[in-house]
């Protein structure tokens, strides 16, 4: 377990979602959503979507439907970051999975 903890500690960095300084518009949301969706699709192609990225994406959509574009934009950005982390993880693990192998 030690190994795990340190692995988690060294490999995960908590990135706070930057609070939106200015109010977001529908256009901001649409751009953020498109970017998040495309990152999510890429993670899907890599067979490594994160459930949290997917749920942030639907939270974004819901908020937009309710007209809350601040929240919608923030959720979409969060989703994009999570998917990017998933993509990063997949690429990093391409070779590094061997470190855990019993041999």
């Amino acid at each position: 377990m030690r190994i795990l903890i340190s692995a988690l500690a060294t490999t995960m960095l908590i990135a706070a979602v930057a609070p939106a300084l200015a109010a977001s518009t529908e256009a901001d949301y649409k751009a953020a959503y498109a970017a998040a969706e495309s990152a999510n699709n890429e993670a899907g192609k890599l067979r490594n979507q994160w459930t949290t990225a997917v749920s942030a994406l639907s939270a974004a959509k819901k908020a937009a439907e309710a007209g809350d574009f601040d929240k919608a934009t923030a959720e979409a950005k969060k989703s994009e970051q999570l998917s990017k982390a998933a993509i990063f993880q997949t690429n990093e693990q391409k070779e590094n999975w061997k470190q855990m192998e019993i041999r």
Partner: protein, 286 residues
């Protein structure tokens, strides 16, 4: 320990992975399943010197004496009994064309669980028992079962039951595609995924015997021998497909579709490295 790791990981709202490239020299690769299986077995017998080898098939029950006692008591009135009855009935029930499952399998499907999954050279892929059951249904004009629901659990339970005590006998034929499938399964097993950044091995190799929420983690060796299993938490039976998808969700990863390549291949890998351990399914879990 497990709990605290999970707790803190769960607390992450957003986790960006910044990998300061961890460079560990990894020895040149040549796939050698036989050597893998030997090392696998040694790892677990060294880690748990008190566990009798055949007991590894009892998953969490092998890890804890209190649980082991519970398991013995459970086996007297096993909660999977109804699934066995249903499985036996489905197994014998003729399809619309008059054939039955027995017509699809070697030895009429009795006592053969230990030979699955196998690499099918005609199809060029790993065939699990669950897949073979659905292929049987479809080739006889029947609707396939859901991979995660009761009928599949029942038929696999019955087929496992008729094979109890027979050691896993998984073969890797001399076909580069079979070796590639094995290697792919191994890779899937050790690859970290999901927001929690866990591989199957994080839980079932590094932490067997530890508790995660209320559950004791099963060791990876013999981890499929008792499948399918009854779980109180599910309030019913679960197939291998169901178990794999829920293990993926636990690390906040979106599960693949049941019987996708990765899942069949990881089943192939895990079954191969458990060769020699007896089938004990169906199983019951707390």
């Amino acid at each position: 320990m497990m709990r605290s790791v999970l707790g803190s990981a769960l607390g992450l709202v957003i986790a960006a992975l910044t990998f300061g490239a961890v460079h560990t020299a990894v020895a040149a690769d040549t796939t050698n399943p036989e050597a893998d299986a030997k090392a696998f077995r040694k790892f677990f017998t060294d880690k748990f010197p008190k566990v009798k080898f055949d007991d590894f098939v009892n998953g969490p029950y092998s890890m804890d004496e209190g649980l082991y006692q519970q398991w013995k008591e459970k086996e007297e009135f096993p909660p999977y009994e109804f699934a066995l009855d249903m499985g036996k009935e489905l197994f014998a029930k003729p399809f619309k064309n008059g054939k039955t499952f027995a017509d699809c399998f070697p030895n009429k499907g009795i006592g053969i669980r230990q030979n699955y999954p196998y690499f099918d050279e005609k199809q060029g892929k790993v065939v699990t028992l669950e897949l073979a059951i659905n292929q049987c249904l479809e080739s006889n004009g029947e609707k396939p079962y859901s991979y995660t629901k009761d009928e599949m659990a029942a038929v696999t339970a019955y087929m496992a039951f008729t094979s109890r005590g027979k050691p896993f006998d998984i073969k890797i034929p001399n076909d580069p595609r079979a070796l590639a499938a094995y290697e792919n399964g191994k890779k899937y097993f050790y690859t970290r995924r999901g927001q929690l950044n866990f591989s199957c091995a994080s839980c079932h190799v590094q932490s067997p015997g530890e508790r995660i929420r209320a559950e004791v983690l099963a060791p990876a060796i013999g981890i499929l021998n008792a499948m399918p299993i009854y779980r109180s938490e599910w309030g019913g039976m679960g197939t291998i497909s169901r178990r794999f998808t829920s293990c993926n969700s636990q690390v906040r990863g979106v599960p693949l579709n049941p019987q996708d390549d990765e899942y069949r291949d990881v089943e192939y890998y895990l079954s191969y490295v458990s060769n020699g351990l007896p089938i004990s399914g169906p199983g019951a879990r707390p």
